[in-house]
Amino acid sequence: MRFSSQVIYRAAGILVALALALPGAGRADEPPLTVVSWGGSYEAAQRKAIFTPFTEATGIAVEVKRYDGGIAELRDRAAAEGWDVIDMLEADAISGCEAGLLAPLDPQALFGDDAARLAGDMAPAVIRRCSLPQNVYATVMAYDDRAFPGVKPTRIEDFFDVARFPGKRAIRRSPDGILEWALLAEGVPPSQVYDLLSTDRGLRLAFRRLDSLRGHIIWWEDAATPPRLLEEGKAVMASGYNGRFFTAARRDGAPISVVWDGRLIAHDVWAISATADRPEAARRFLRFAVRPGPMARLAERIPYGPARRSALSRIGLGPETGIPMRDHLPNAPQHGPRKLVRDSDWASHTRAMRQRRFEAWLEKGGDGG
C-alpha cells in the first residue's frame, strides 16, 4: 500500500512537473500555495521570515490558514480547504503520517546530494518519513509578575503548589505536557519521565499530582490564549510556548516572567498534506524553509530555535526589539539543567490512551470547563 501510494505520488509529481514545463502554462492564475500555521505572533514572524521571502524568490503566492494542531483537524479540513504545507508538532506529524494523511518525503529527491549533510546538521532532530524538522520550541510555565510581589515561583513544583502560590493556572486542555510536569514535580528525573508515564502507576501518580490543582484550572486550546490570560490577570500561572510568552513580555510589555525549569522541549516540523493541490510548489517551499537563512530570520523574530545547527550562528538581534535572540532560545544553556525532550514517537503512539485517561480525569472531577 505504501509502495503504491508512493508510485501514485511520484506519478503525480511528474505530471505536475510536466505541466510546469509547458511554456506559459497559466502561471498567472495558479492558485496560491496553502500553508497552515498557528496564528498569532508565531505566524506573523513566519510571514516576515519565510512566507514573504519565499514569494519574492519564487513568485509563488502563499495563503496562510490557521489551526490549533492535532490530527483531527487535519483529517477534517485538509482536503476541503486545499491544505498544502502544514506546520505541525512532530508527534502529530508521526500520527498523521501513519494515518496516511501526509505525503511521504524523499530527502534524496528533495535535496539531492545535500540530504546527508542536512540530516547531520539537523541531528538530534530527525528527518522522518513525512516530516522535516524546522524549529525547536519549549513548553514552559510563566507567571504574572504582579501576582507574586514577594517570593516568585522558580520551579515546576511551584506550579502545583496552590498553597504557596495561590491563583488560577492556565493549562492546555490536553494530556500533553501537564502529565510530564506532574511527574517532574514528584522528583522524577527527566530521563525517566516517559518510562514512568508508560505505566499505569505512573499515570495514576501524575493525575494524583494534578488533583492538587482541581478547581484552580482554566483550560486553553489556542496557543495565543495563555499570555493573554496572564496579562488580563485571569490566571497567575500558565503553561504555554516560550515564543508566545517572549513576544507578549518583550514586545508588548506584558508583566510576564518565564520559568525555564522543567521546560518541555519538542520539535516543530513541516509536512505536506497527502491531498495537497500543489505538491511540487509545496516541496519548493520546504526546500526554501529549511535553509539556514530563513530559519535564523524566524528565530530573530520569535525565540524558537532553528532545527539546523548551522543556522544558530546566523541569529542576531530581533529586528523590532533589538534583543540578542540567541539567549532566549529554548536550548540556551543558561536556562538550567532540568529539561525534558519530548519523545515524539511515544507521544504519537500513546495519544489515544492518554487522551482517554485525561478525559476520565476531567469527568471525575466535573472539571471539564
Binding site: 522524577v188 528525573p189 530521563s191 525517566q192 514512568l196 505505566t199 501518580l205 500513546t350
Partner: protein, 578 residues
Amino acid sequence: MSQPARTSLRGATAPAYRATVLTLCALGVGALASLAAIGLTDAVVWLNEVLLIAPRARVQYEGAGLLVPLATVLVPAVGGLLVALILKGLSPQGRPLGPPDVIEAVQFERPLPGPRGGVASTAAAMVSLGFGASVGQYGPMVYLGAMIGGLVRRLRLNVPNLPAIAVACGVAAAISTAFNAPIAGLVFAHEVVLRHYSTQAFAPTTVAAATGYVFANVIFERPALFLVRFGGVEHGHEFALFAILGLLAAGLAVVFMRLTLWIAARAPRTGVPAWLRPAVAGLAVGLTALWLPDVLGIGKEALRFATIEGAFAPWELAVLVAAKLALTALCIGFGFAGGVFSPALLIGILFGALCWNLVAATGLVATSGIAVYAICGMMALTSPVIGAPLTTILIVFELTRNYDITIAAMVAVVFSNLLAHRVFGRSLFDVQLARRGTDLSAGRDWARLAAIPVADRCVPDPMVANTNEGLDTARRRMARADRSEAFVTDADGTFRGVLHAEAHGNSWEEALRPPDLCFDETTTVMDAMQAIRGFVGDAIPVIDSRDRRLIGVVTEAAVIEAYLDVSQALRREENAVL
C-alpha cells in the same frame, strides 16, 4: 618449589617494563571491558524495546489487541528455551558463568574457564535479560569484564600477579561503566575479587576504573543511574531506624539467598528436564507479569516508584517483594543466566519503602520521607548478597550523588552485613563456591592450602619395599640407604604397612606396623598441617582411599614447605609495589 622460578622471573623484568605492561593492560582491558559493558547494556535495552518488555514500548501497542499480553507470557518463556539451547550447545560448562568463577580463578591463580564458555554465558545472559527474565545484569557484566582481563594471561608477559590484576581491571571497568561509578568499581574489584590491597594491583585497577568512567561519562555521556533528591536526615533518632532496617533487610537477604540456593539444588529433582527449566521459569515470570508487570526484567520503573510516596500501597509493596524474590530465585535456580545484584536492589528498595510505610502508618516517629528508607533498604539487602559493604556504600554515593543518603545507607549496610555474615556467610558467591568445595570463609591462605592436595608434594625418592622381595633384602636396602623406615606394598601396589629398621620378626606379617599417620588422595596441605601437630615420624604415606594403593610419601618438611610457599606467594602478592 616455585620460589626459584619466581625469583628469576622477577629478575628478568625491569620495573620500567612492568610498569609499562601494567599501565597498558589497565588501559586496554579497561577500554574493552567498558565498551563490552556498554554493548551488553544497549543490547538488552534494545531487546527490551523490540520484545515489548520495556513499559515504554508496551504502552505504544496497548491498542493492538492481545499483542502485549501474548508477548508478556511468551517472550520470557521463549527466552528460557533460547538460553537452554545456547548453554547446552555452546558452553562447555553447560551453565552460566559468573562472579563465583571469577573469584575462584583469581584466588587460586587459575585461568578462567575458556572464552567459549564465557561468550556463551554472556550471550545467554543477554537473552535472559533481553527477554525479561527476573535476573540481574551486573553479574554477567562482571564476568564479561573478567573474561576480557583474562585474555592477558595468554600473552605471557612475565609480570608477577599480572593475570589476577588484569582480571580485576576488567571487573573494575565493567562496574565503573555499568553504574557510572568508578570508585565503586575500584573497590568492588578489591573487596570481592582480589581480596587484598596492594599498590601493584591498586594502581592498574584504578586506571581501568577511570577508563571505564571516561567511556561511560565523557565519550558516551551516560547519566548517573539513580539520581535522588533528598534534603538530609531531619531527626537523629532515624539512624536507629536505619540500623533496624538494616537488620530486617539482612533477614530478607538471607531468605533470598537460601531460597536461591535451595531452588538451584532442588531443580534437578523436579522432574523437569534441564533444557525446559528456564522456559518454565520464564513462563512463571510471564504469567505473574500479566498481573504484576513490575516483575518483568530489571524493573527500573519500580525502582523509581519506590522512592515516591504513595506510588505503591503497602500491600502492593509486600506482594511485589515476595513475587520478585521468589521469581528471581526461580529464574536463577532454573538456569536463566544472570546476576542477583539488580533483583536484590529492587527487592531491597521495595522492602525499604514498605518499612517506611509501616513506620509512617504508626504515626509514632517523625521521618524524613520515603526516599532515604527505600535506598537504605535497597543497599542493606544488596550488600550481604554480594558481600561487599564498602562497595555498596560507594555505589549509593555515586548513584545518587547525595551525601546525606550515603551516610544513612552506610548505617543500614553495616548492620545488615554483620547479621547476614554471621547467619549465612560472607556472600551468596562465597557460599556458592563453598558448596562447590572451595571455602574462602577462613581466609585466602587457608583456602589456597585447602586447594593443594598433599599428594602433589610427595618426595621424589621414597623408601618403598615390596613383599615380593625378601624381608632381609628390604632391610639391607634400608641400611644401605640409611633409612629408618620403608613403606611396603604387595605385588599389585596395595599398601601393607611400615617397616621400621629396628622392627623384629622374620616374616613380613611380624615385621610390618601400621603407620602412625596416613593421608589419602583427598588430604589437602591444610589438613596435613593440622594433622602433623605432634607427629614425630619423618614421613607419612599417602594411600588411595578407594583401592588402598600407595600413591607416595610426604615428609613433614614437604608439608611445611608447601605452607611456606603459599604464605610467601600471598605475602609477595599483597605487598607488591611494582
